[in-house]
């Protein structure tokens, strides 16, 4: 039992990283109805920029955060300007494919720069473990878990209570109607991509705290996408809960099944979960139900 709980709690901490990645995808979908495949790249670049200033130039922590956020947000804005703005008013599928093109391009740049090497960040979060009963939780994982919680609360508040948040939700439903109501859809798009760049940086830094930066890092975006889809794509709380859940399932599954099948369970489990969720609830566990008038 104790072993199970330990596995679960470690899974919870890893899951919070998935939630952080999914947050950006949900953010973009919830405000523009574009499914962004490129988010994993933003996360990876966020981590890389942070490494430049913190790991390579040796700037203090707070001073490295600022340029990392600014640069990643700039990439977000650039994606919006160059790739997505020309597609406003066009079918959403075109925008979706465009994010795929962006995915490939950014991935190319990322690999071109990194080659096969890895970049490890020096530890920047407090070390040590917190003991909870018989369980132990590393402090650095605890910190990123708390960051995830705070970020989700902040994003939910923005969507629910601010004017821009309302404009974003309106834009997601109907670009044309939003324009007819006086919302400048282009502006909403830029806000959203800048915001998603910022959220990606948070995720990137949190992830770089527990694993090295290497060429596979952008693919965390796929896990994020799975979480976002299972959660319902437009539900922040869905992304949060499912992210944690997936972390737990992966970790517990790997812990118990890996010895039996010889490893690799972790990589498969998330897809099995996705498949099952989509079979039972095609619009995700927490998604808005489609309103059909009969």
């Amino acid at each position: 039992m104790l072993e199970f709980l330990q596995q679960a709690i470690t899974g919870l901490m890893i899951g919070s990283l998935y939630s952080l990645v999914a947050a950006g995808i949900v953010l973009v979908y919830k405000s523009t109805h574009v499914v962004s495949l490129a988010h994993g790249q933003l996360v990876a670049f966020g981590a890389l920029f942070f490494w430049f200033f913190f790991g390579s130039f040796g700037w203090p922590l707070w001073a490295s955060l600022i340029p990392a956020f600014i640069l990643t947000a700039a990439i977000g804005l650039l994606i919006e300007r160059l790739a997505l703005r020309p597609l406003i008013g066009q079918p959403l599928f075109a925008a979706f494919l465009m994010t795929f093109a962006v995915f490939i391009t950014l991935e190319g740049i990322f690999v071109l720069y990194l080659k096969g090497e890895t970049r490890a960040l020096p530890a920047f979060l407090p070390e040590g473990n917190i003991a909870l009963g018989g369980l132990s939780v590393p402090v650095n994982q605890m910190v990123s878990f708390l960051v995830a919680v705070l970020l989700f609360i902040a994003l939910s508040l923005v969507f629910k209570f601010t004017k821009v948040g309302l404009g974003m939700r309106a834009t997601a439903e109907d670009h044309r109607l939003a324009q007819g109501t006086g919302i400048t859809v282009r502006k909403i798009f830029s806000y959203v991509w800048v915001l998603s760049g910022l959220v990606a940086t948070v995720a990137g830094i949190a992830i770089a705290g527990v694993m090295d930066i290497y060429y596979m890092l952008p693919y965390i975006g796929i896990n994020g996408l799975i979480v976002a889809i299972c959660g319902g794509l437009d539900s922040l709380s869905g992304a949060f809960v499912v992210g944690l859940l997936l972390g737990v399932v992966e970790n517990v599954g790997a812990g118990y099944l890996d010895p039996l099948v010889g490893g690799g369970v972790k990589d498969v489990v998330s897809y099995i979960v996705l498949l099952m969720v989509l079979l039972v609830r095609p619009y995700g566990l927490f998604g808005l139900t489609r309103i059909e008038r009969i």
């Binding site: 309302l166 404009g167 439903e173 007819g180 400048t184 859809v185």
Partner: protein, 264 residues
């Protein structure tokens, strides 16, 4: 206040929809725009509100002036800011938002939060039905409630002129009466001009001061509404009355010989 000078609209560079439409809406007036399906009424409204740009349509000739400023090249959101709000056909709502949020979105161009609150209350005063459903998800509203909500949302932008596209579509006669009563009320209270596109010529002519009749992308007839109500062609083709003023019997439809006088 709003003046269209001989505008021509082309969709996708090839389809000529409006062939020189001119019309005039004076301050505080209700003006009706009548015509059959495909006459170009909605296109005219979209041309004014700028929504044409989102449908690959373009004003290729003539101009549209609002309070002396040319607006045919402006974006929809700029036009809303100037005080022109189109209430689109089919009553599109932000269905996942609540009634109250839909009302709030209507004031997106404004930033005077105190006045916005007061305006929301006055909208609920016009539409007491909506006041009872503030927190309901708007996608579940009925047709009449949707019409009230889109009009309420439009009012929140404090328009100087509202472009109403078929507000009576698919509503029961009692609801149509109610909606038009409120349109008239808003017009009286706030001096908001209205450009009203309607299939229901009877109601439209009874509420408006001036009316235009469109056919095939052209204005074929215009005049004060009470005059048009007496016009033989209008009676025949839009009000369903025969020359003697009685309802036409369907038995006689076969022997129908009368031609519209404007089709030379």
């Amino acid at each position: 206040m709003l003046r269209l000078n001989n505008i021509e609209v082309i969709y996708s560079d090839v389809i000529l929809v409006l062939k020189g439409v001119s019309l005039d809406v004076t301050e505080g007036a209700i003006v009706a725009l009548l015509g059959g399906n495909g006459a170009g009424k909605s296109t005219t409204l979209k041309g004014i509100s700028g929504l044409l740009h989102t449908e690959l349509g373009e004003v290729t000739d003539g101009n549209i002036q609002f309070e002396g400023v040319r607006i045919e090249r402006k974006s929809p959101e700029e036009i809303v800011r100037m005080g022109i709000v189109q209430i689109m056909e089919g009553r599109p709502l932000f269905e996942q938002l609540t009634v109250d949020e839909n009302i709030k979105v209507g004031a997106y161009t404004r930033s005077d939060s105190g006045a916005i609150k007061a305006d929301a209350e006055s909208v609920y005063a016009y539409f007491p039905t909506l006041a009872r459903m503030r927190n309901r998800i708007s996608g579940y509203l009925s047709g009449g409630e949707r019409q009230m909500l889109v009009m309420g949302r439009g009012l929140m932008a404090r328009p100087k002129i509202m472009l109403l596209d078929e507000p009576s579509l698919g509503l029961s006669p009692a609801l149509v009466k109610e909606i038009f009563r409120i349109i008239k009320l808003i017009n009286d209270d706030r001096k908001t001009s209205m450009l009203l596109v309607e299939q229901n010529a009877f109601v439209a002519l009874s509420i408006s001061e001036y009316a235009y009749v469109m056919e095939n992308g052209r204005i074929v007839l215009d005049g004060p509404s009470e005059k048009l109500r007496e016009n033989e062609d209008i009676k025949e083709f839009y009000l369903g009355l025969s020359q003697v003023g009685k309802r036409k019997s369907y038995r006689e439809v076969k022997h129908y010989k009368r031609r519209k006088r404007w089709l030379a």
